[in-house]
Amino acid sequence: MTLVRVRDVSRVFANGVQALDGASLDIEAGEFLSVLGPSGCGKSTLLRLIGGLAEPTAGTIEWPQGRPDLGFVFQEPTLMPWSTALANVALPLKLRGLSRSDREARAAEALAGVGLKGFEKSYPRELSGGMKMRVSIARALVTSPKLLLMDEPFAALDEITRRRLNTDLLELWQRTHFTAVFVTHSVFESVFLSQRIVVMSARPGRVRSELAIPAPYPRSESFGTSADYAALCRLTSAQLSEAMAA
């Protein structure tokens, strides 16, 4: 079942820069999809268009089954520094008018889901970079969205933290069955996480190629060191180079 149908979408900024030029893409319900491309190829713009945070200059974005609830994870944790972790996670529910007790119960559950039980009353500045990103993910998932959009969420984290978060994200995805769209410029990350990778060309961005990552889930750290993984990375890398050269 197709959740989102992106058709020939272009986006030109007010300053005349063309970020996207006729990008097309289908997102299937329940899949883990990565959008891979060099910096400035318009992948963030594509994500913002799907999220409804910007309008395409040309082309359409269709929702065959209606527009579902969606969650968005930014490059930065984007937390409100004046609020506790719990209040930050509860924000989407507050904006939707849920009662205080309801939203706090659900926010506590979401925090526990990302491994942050016991940090409800902590303020963002008391948390590490990785923990802040976990809070951000909990906030995106607190409304139980059908679609989770992630814009290079782990790019600013160190290697060890990033690996942990990658494994934990996959586990969350398998447990809660949301559709994941993960924007990244890392070949390794996209191969490790996804079932399908969409490779974009440099600006103005368009979809150059697509490849499937047939490895089974659950994928553990050992998958990341297997020969299969290395071969898939080489293949993806070659596609990316081709897309950048074109």
Binding site: R48, G52, L70, F74, T78, M80, L91, R96, Y123
Partner: protein
Amino acid sequence: MSARIVAPVLMGLFMLALWEGLVRAMAIPPYILPGPILVTKTLVSDWGTLWPALLVTLTITLQALLAAVVVGVLLALLFSLSRWIELSLFPYAIILQVTPIVAIAPLIIAWVDDVNVSLLICAWLVAFFPILSNTVLGLRSVDRNLLDLFELYGASRWRTLLDLRLPAALPYFLGGLRISGGLALIGAVVAEFVAGSGGRESGLAYRILESGYQLKIPRMFAALVLISATGIAIYLLLSLLSHLLLRRWHESALKEE
């Protein structure tokens, strides 16, 4: 006790001792320069005159500060809602700010019948701009991604203002408030000077003028000390308020570790 407190206190005591020593050694008459001991004595003996005067000045200062907060914040909110209102009004706010209060105080005092109201207007004019400009800056310094997030979940403008723009602007507002507290006092004192004996209830500035005419220089110094002490107290109180409101989350309130 930390060096942060000990060092300035020792320095202050040393300067006071030097002052007293010089006044005595050179036998300077008190109508030229009274020593700190005489000033302290006068502060105690003239307390009956000085204390009511302090209350008058303090009342005007606090009323002006309150008015500055109300008008400054309301204008800032208005500016953040409409670019057009901001573009049309902000230059005039700047003109009000850069025009020296000593120059326009006589006009205001001449126009407004009630002296207290005219003093209040002068002090307010000096005090409101830092609050306005800082709050405008704060309301605009909101994380773009957080604004997107609020939009994503369909937050109304009102909700966004209440839950996002106002808390984000709070540290900026408090910074402006600290500056305005001192300025309100300065504005009140300057206006009192200009109004001179026109005020029926006389504040500290009038006491300073009066002491000057009567060559009661120690009392003049005592009144000066009171004004400075009031300014310091206002600053410390506003700093404490700022610390209490920001200590859990804002970088400026972080302890050095």
